[in-house]
Amino acid sequence: MSRTRIKGKSAACFLLSLLFTLSLAGPSSGAEADNPIKIGVCMPITGPAAVIARDSINGVMIAVDDVNNSGGLLGGRKIKIIKEDDGSQPSQGVSAIRKLITRDKVVGVLGNLNSSVCIATRNICKEYNIPQLALGCSMDSLVEGYPYFFRVNTNNSFQSVPFIRWLVKDQGRKRIVILYENTDWGLNLKDISAQVAQKYGAQILLQEGYTPGSSDYLPVLSNIKKADPDLILSAAMITEAAIISRQARELGIDRSLIAGWGGWAQTDLHDLADGAEEGVLIADIFPAGDPQNPAAKYLVEEVKKRYPDSQPNVYHAQSYDAALTLINAIKSAGSDDPQRIRDAVAATDGLQGSLGKIKMDPQGQNLGITIYPSRWKNGKLELTGVEIVAGEE
């Protein structure tokens, strides 16, 4: 058996071929025509979060296309978006960001979606002094200590603390079950929820965790039904929310006991949940079509026009706002120097976004977040009329 032979000569041969192949991957060729302003977008285009990534990128493109179609920035230069896939994996994210920064020479980065990926990639942006605006990554403490990392969308606390406080104090819910997904987002929200609820005097009867992607919630829901709560808190992605609501209906659980975030608030939920979502309360950050916010109204129209296959949702909105913030920063910095852009992003105050008026706090978190508790009724989300300003607390 000759397979274990050591082919010394082949070692040198392959290294030469390696050098050759790598040279093909060498730095991309010189200056581009028209000198565009390059911005990188790094999202999980493949993998379980692909749908959210798609909607987010579409939101970004709406803002970018608007700018490009109305004369561009900095004296007629157009914005060029370079997309890369991070597959929801930190190592892939790091590869992608390095490529965007060192190869494509982007002056700003929009991304990532998953907190675990952001944790890795914000180091790279910090190393190269490139401003990075997250399109998700809602774990609370991500922005502190990273002057190049900003977040226009909500973080987990903003989204949950005021909402739960309202539910417990104003709505008088006292017997609470927390249904959480076993991911960084879900675990973080579970911890925050439990803390806040107990602070205002509610009792946590049960905390049931599950792995997203699983299709059977009957055991967990059976336990919940037995515990007889008056509030079920659930942060779930749309697929899980749909299955949970349908299986809850199977078991005869009253869905108006459920209060949720994330997928529960997406307008597609009605199709997937087949009406089982009726009565569920949600902490909506982007009430699609809020007539009082002109940017929101505009975004909803644009999404319906350009992407008729999807319903306008918070992912379109938060990404649109992030892109808007970056674009606005380039404009007010008057230059494509990443350092100046970064400073302009940090100074954003009063910019009208689809989520509200964007104002950056000293750490890099946008304070302009408002929660609109809404209820599912007849396949549509109905505002309850309550508005809780989350950010400036």
Binding site: T4, R5, E84, P90, T183, N188
Partner: protein, 322 residues
């Protein structure tokens, strides 16, 4: 087993060329890719010890990689233990885990062994992601400190590459030494025909366990270095699909071939990155899957076997060496 000094010379030349690469190619993205290649080479070679030499198959390799990464990361972040001590600790932890897997696997073969190791792989990932109090579960471990060598902290990409390359060199050395030892003969005997080997006095149990623990130890070391390089790890970087890709690297390179393992690890690491500009996202993955199928269909002996055949036609040989 003749000792060929000329072979060593070629390896040294190769090593010198490889060490010089980051100074020729200064693009940070490519440097990062080279570092990833190094990790995959180490993983492929260590798995080759198990598959190529001992003839066993294991889907648990990513688990060993992950356990090494987590052990080293936890020791460094929770107990402040230095990288140079945490690293072998990670390797040892993986080796211990591999005994847990190796012992029950002793009487399994073929498909059963494959799926049993797959089961272990899954269990390890699930345990890591559920044991939140120890591993922080899906939130992963962040802020893993960088290694220090005297007054130098290894943070520049060039230095990381050299560290990774050193690991590769050590692994290659280890593999070459093993392949020239009596151990290799026994492992090969085990691979070719277990029953015959036993009747010749080969202690097949001991051989299997050595193969398992050896390959796991190296994978664990690689994990420790990887954790420090990437700076944050989570359970989903070490799934069964990662194991599958490493298995593929071994087969694509040619089972039992060290050079083949290196070449295929490099090519399969770079392939998805090369496909980035060419194809959109999901299509990129479709192409990757297609390439896997083509490789396995048309190069059943892997690249090493393929080059063997070509070489065989160019340079006729009389006696095949062992």
């Amino acid at each position: 087993m003749k000792d060929k000094p000329s072979a060593w010379l070629w390896w040294l030349v190769g090593l010198a060329l490889a060490a010089g690469l980051p100074y020729i190619i200064t693009d940070a993205y490519t440097q990062h890719l080279l570092i990833l290649c190094c990790f995959n080479i180490v993983l492929a070679l260590s798995l080759n010890l198990l598959i190529g030499f001992a003839g066993q198959i294991s889907f648990a390799h990513a688990a060993f990689f992950g356990v090494g990464a987590y052990t080293s990361a936890l020791l460094a972040t929770r107990l402040g233990i230095s990288f140079w001590l945490a690293l072998p600790a990670g390797g040892v932890m993986s080796a211990v885990l591999s005994l847990l897997i190796g012992l029950p696997s002793l009487r399994l073969r073929g498909h059963y062994l494959a799926i049993a190791t797959l089961g272990f792989q899954e269990i390890v990932v699930i345990v890591i992601s559920q044991w939140v109090s120890l591993t922080r579960g899906p939130m992963g471990i962040t802020g893993i400190p960088k290694p220090r060598l005297g007054r130098l902290t290894i943070s520049a990409l060039e230095h990381w590459y050299l560290l990774a390359l050193a690991l590769v060199a050590l692994t290659v050395l280890f593999m070459i030494r093993v392949s020239r030892s009596r151990l290799a003969l026994e492992l090969l005997a085990l691979r070719e025909n277990e029953v015959a080997a036993r009747s010749m006095g080969v202690n097949t149990v001991k051989m299997k366990l050595i193969a398992f623990t050896g390959s796991a130890f190296v994978a664990g070391l690689a994990g420790g270095v990887y954790a420090s390089y990437i700076n944050s790890i989570d359970p989903y970087s070490f799934t069964v699909w990662v194991s599958a890709i490493i298995i593929l690297m071994v087969y694509a390179g040619g089972v039992g071939s060290i050079v083949g393992g290196i070449v295929s690890a490099v090519i399969l690491t770079l392939l998805p990155e090369f496909l980035r500009p060419i194809a959109e996202d999901q299509f990129r993955m479709v192409i990757f899957g297609g390439v896997l199928i083509l490789i396995i269909m048309f190069m059943p002996e892997g690249m090493a076997g393929f080059f063997e055949k070509i070489r065989g036609r160019l340079v006729p040989r009389k006696f095949p060496e062992v």
